[in-house]
Subunit: 308 residues, 3 copies
């Protein structure tokens, strides 16, 4: 691969940071790592580089994925699992960043419950910020790994009909996927109960499909979102049973259309948004997404970190 | 050493998984590491291999021991200290395993408060499960390091008279040691208060020695178990003082027999099951057990991990 | 640099452990690391050596600094963040130390809320104890990095006029700095409210400056201490506002004297002991202290660890 290729931005805060060329560079690099990864060997792209895993919101999957990616590139990974209590004001968050920066840390993988924190940090550091999820705003590495999974499965993303199903309104995964899929010229529609759709739906510029059966009929791909438990308990939904009946995907529905592809960012609430019996199906790409996630994060860490 | 030697099982769930030849292979490998370990050097047996430390029950000693063993073999070690709250059902435990597996993790060191969890996980993964203690069921690496300590001290385990003392009923250490010592043809007896002996004692096929003095008189080795604080508080024992008087080992008792060897899996409740003044004695092998533990775990990680 | 130079002590418990020659050796080694540190490379001073980070009191900055230092020297770093609940008695703390030692750990970076714990541990191990802060007693690596910062800024510490400002009485940073600065023949004075000065001030053998303006007028350097929140809430101080008015440093005061240098061990309570607008000033060396901290800790780990 051509090592001269660089991203047009020195960080990753949201899907819109990346143009089509950038996304192609990330995909090519992820592909390179996937093809050349050998058991018992390591890449040295980030040897001697310290990456801070700054997860201010609990995370198991995304943090492990970034951690494994960093280690495969020979980076030193330090964990900065601050209790939110000690760091409450933006002011002291910046102080903490500057302190860690003064220790020689150059890359920061940041998750925070407040939208905009990664951007705020990027504006105040010479280091590299990688957004690992901020509030309801963005989760760009999830969008990248989702699109990469489609790219590997279908050969191209352009023209694919993708329907995002579930709790669109509260989902940073939905937001980041819509932006990236549009950059890649997929056709994106949304399906979910009215109370879980964004209020100013025009801003999103996506058609709504009211019925899950219609969504499946239309789509090449359904991207099912996780229903957050707090949403179920907040009174926004009449009941879980009703959500499952109208927007959950059953094996019967999934099997009706032979080449239909199903994705989910995980962890899945089986029995709520998804029938457990769908999991082993070869077109259910949930495990593949996870595997691709590590290679996408290796690609980003390498591209953003290797010539700071 | 002959590198072609392999274990007859691709995992370690309980002592009974290993036959005499397997145990010999593990001991030889541990011996090899012990002889060839040099300060400032590392073995590369697990270079580029990711080992997940999945401790669902708190642990300091066993976790550190495995972690140090993994690092000495150049493995990448990731910690998966999930709160038991987020992973409550077997179903989601499997999902979590599959997710981590999809990230490229190949080995799992598992501790769980429920008996059978490691077996359940092994049945659902292509990776390697190493049981680091499950409920009251098994703790096979403890049994291996205990037998290895006897092997190094006496030259052989066969024919040794070993008495296990204390809370037999609730102890996975006792269970795993009985099985392994029998495989190695040691003569095993048990000593403890009636309320802390297993109910169907026939199943264990071990004689009971009622009195600690008789146990010491009979044994070459006494393996004293830790008295769990929760047992003391549960009403099973009339009082700690009484337990100490009848089943605790005093310096006077220990000193009566010159070559008597004492082992304990740690951490010791000094003053309860053991007199503090015994610790410095050369036949008190508690520290040696800990040292051997690292080499035994290196041996297992290397044997089970190097040709997955 | 001359690799034969060694410290006169095999551990670091307090500033008084180091004589002037020792301090010079540490500074030279830190300087060496600072000059020779190259992005993407590692030193191998502690390859294959396991360093235990034993922080029994919460710490983010000091722990990260030691952790990064250890990793840059290729050490294996294990974290031993025990809850204080499980280790309550000195007796069992020693048992824990001996257990970790038996696993092959050779160096221990220790923070504990009780003064004297590092000394107690050093007396009971063949390994190396590095005090990372114990109670109100000592924080010698902070004193070393502070003096190193002065040495790099002024070219020498001897003869410098240093005023330590704030909560002297409760501060291990103050104690360790006073001792080290005196060894290096700086002129040290103290400034703070009477309730936050040590009772037997004669023992400290330092003059008191009552007024912050007089302190600034006299000093080449003011070392401002963090005001612990628990002090504010304990009734020792009438109010935060009053502390800030009489002992906080404002931009106006700081700007009055062109070459005045300001240091602070961090984290700063901006608005209480320090005006936020001082931070960007080139003579405010807070970030520099943090950067030097990593190199000082690399120097200590290397000097104390490389020929155990």
């Amino acid at each position: 691969m051509n090592e001269l290729k660089k991203l047009s931005v020195p960080y990753l805060l949201e899907s819109a940071d990346l143009n089509r060329d950038d996304i192609k560079i990330v995909f090519d690099k992820a592909d390179f790592f996937m093809q050349n990864y050998k058991r018992g060997e390591k890449f040295s792209d980030l040897k001697g580089i310290t990456v801070a895993m700054a997860f201010f919101e609990p995370s198991t999957r995304t943090k492990l994925s970034f951690d494994i990616a960093a280690k495969r590139l020979s980076a030193d990974s330090i964990s900065f699992a601050s209790s939110t209590s000690s760091i409450t004001k933006g002011e002291s968050l910046i102080d903490t960043l500057h302190t860690i920066e003064a220790m020689g840390v150059e890359m920061y993988v940041v998750r925070h419950k407040n939208s905009g924190v990664p951007k705020f940090l990027q504006e105040n550091t010479k280091g590299v910020i990688l957004n690992a999820g901020d509030g309801k705003h963005a989760h760009p590495t999830q969008a990248l790994l989702d699109s990469f999974t489609l790219y590997k499965h279908f050969g191209a993303v352009k023209g694919l009909k993708v329907c995002i199903v579930g709790d669109i309104m509260h989902s940073r995964v939905a937001r980041s996927n819509i932006d990236m899929l549009k950059t890649l010229e997929a056709d994106v529609k949304l399906c979910g109960p009215g109370t879980l759709l964004p209020r100013n739906i025009n801003v999103w510029d996506c058609d709504i499909i009211e019925n899950i059966n219609d969504a499946i009929e239309w789509a090449d791909v359904i991207l099912v979102l996780r229903l957050q438990r707090e949403r179920m308990e907040s009174g926004i939904l009449p009941s879980i049973e009703e959500f499952n009946r109208f927007y959950g995907v059953s094996l019967e529905q999934f099997s009706k259309k032979q080449d239909l592809v199903l994705m989910h960012p995980g962890p899945v609430n089986y029995g709520i948004e998804l029938d457990y019996r769908i999991a082993p199906n070869k077109n259910c790409l949930i495990q593949t997404q996870v595997t691709h996630g590590v290679f996408i994060r290796m690609a980003l860490l390498s591209l953003l970190g290797s010539d700071l």
